[in-house]
């Protein structure tokens, strides 16, 4: 009798847990992705010659400084926040030469396509959970670098 009660309890618990788990799985929550893209300039100089540039968020700067690069300072050139519905694509102009296209593949997977001066440069498919960064970058003049940082918006 006691064993039956125990087994019944476990079965009921499993059912409840499965239900709760189903309620919290990514597929059950809203599939829209609220994203933030930043165009960033990396340099060894402490100050940017462009007064429109401002230092990046400390949190992003801290993560960028963990990368194996020599640049000590990172400046935000542009920032865009946008929402991409599941299976949808969103195009954002980050600068006159830089454009990104973000596709929401579902389950926090994104496909980031970079377009430079109208021509495709590269396409990256990667999971992008909250608090993680997907960073693309390349060389820029005078031993500096450009970065496009994509993350889920808070």
């Amino acid at each position: 009798m006691r064993t039956k009660q125990l087994v019944a309890s476990w079965l009921a618990g499993t059912a409840v847990a499965t239900f709760l788990l189903g309620m919290t799985t990514p597929s059950a929550v809203a599939a829209d992705l609220k994203l933030e893209a930043q165009l960033i300039w990396g340099t060894a100089d402490a100050k940017s010659p462009d007064p429109n540039h401002k230092p990046v968020d400390p949190e992003v700067a801290k993560k960028l400084k963990t990368l194996p690069f020599k640049w000590a300072n990172y400046f935000e050139v542009n920032r865009r926040q946008f929402v991409v519905p599941e299976s949808g694509v969103r195009k954002e102009i980050m600068s006159k030469d830089c454009e990104i296209r973000v596709k929401n593949l579902g389950r926090a997977m994104v496909e980031l396509a970079l377009v430079g001066r109208g021509a495709p440069v590269g396409k990256i498919t990667q999971a992008l959970p909250k608090k993680e960064l997907l960073v693309t970058g390349g060389n820029a003049p005078n031993f500096t670098a450009w970065f496009v940082v994509l993350k889920q918006a808070e």
């Binding site: 993560k63 963990t66 030469d97 960073v135 390349g138």
Partner: protein, 176 residues
């Protein structure tokens, strides 16, 4: 030889329970039949023996007090018998089932939430992330990817220069 009914009749005679006319008949029979007389003698001897045996047993207390003790013991044993359990209410049965079930569900939920929070690799779609899939449009791509799991950062480095012709002229010494 006396049959069983006659034996019982003789015993009733011995106990003085027969009516007078039957007792008279039994007395005549005893005078005639030796086996009836022998049985009567045996009954008398047995009765004497039993009376003598009972007279040797003396209670250390009065008869009333002795029986009152037995009565109290019987009452005590009756009270000590387990009471018939009343049927358990349905709500109590459900509570007994749901309390451990809820505890188990809460435990599972905590594990799931913790796994999502701290990204434990327990197979819920988080944990160690696969390397990004990169397709580059550049012919001589020096592209590479770098992943720092602890910081939660994925880098895809492209050889595409920010301003064509300028970055290409400098040495590729951007890495430390």
């Amino acid at each position: 030889m006396m049959d069983h009914a006659s034996q019982l009749e003789l015993q009733a005679f011995f106990d003085g329970e027969l009516p007078e006319n039957e007792a008279h008949d039994m007395a005549n029979r005893l005078a005639r039949e030796s086996d009836a007389a022998a049985l009567l003698t045996e009954l008398r001897n047995t009765s004497k023996a039993l009376k003598g045996f009972e007279s040797d047993i003396k209670l250390p207390e009065s008869r009333e007090f002795f029986w009152s003790k037995i009565e109290r013991d019987i009452a005590r044993l009756e009270q000590a018998e387990p009471a018939v359990r009343a049927p358990e209410p349905l709500l109590a049965r459900w509570r007994r089932l749901l309390v451990p079930a809820s505890a188990f569900a809460a435990l599972v939920l905590m594990v799931v939430v913790a796994a999502r929070q701290w990204e434990l690799p327990i197979g819920f779609g988080s944990g160690v992330r696969p390397a990004p899939v990169l397709e580059t449009a550049l012919a001589d791509s020096g592209a590479f990817t770098y992943r720092d799991q602890s910081e939660g950062i994925t880098l895809v480095w492209l050889s595409y220069p920010g301003e064509k012709g300028v970055a290409d002229s400098g040495p590729a010494d951007t890495l430390q």
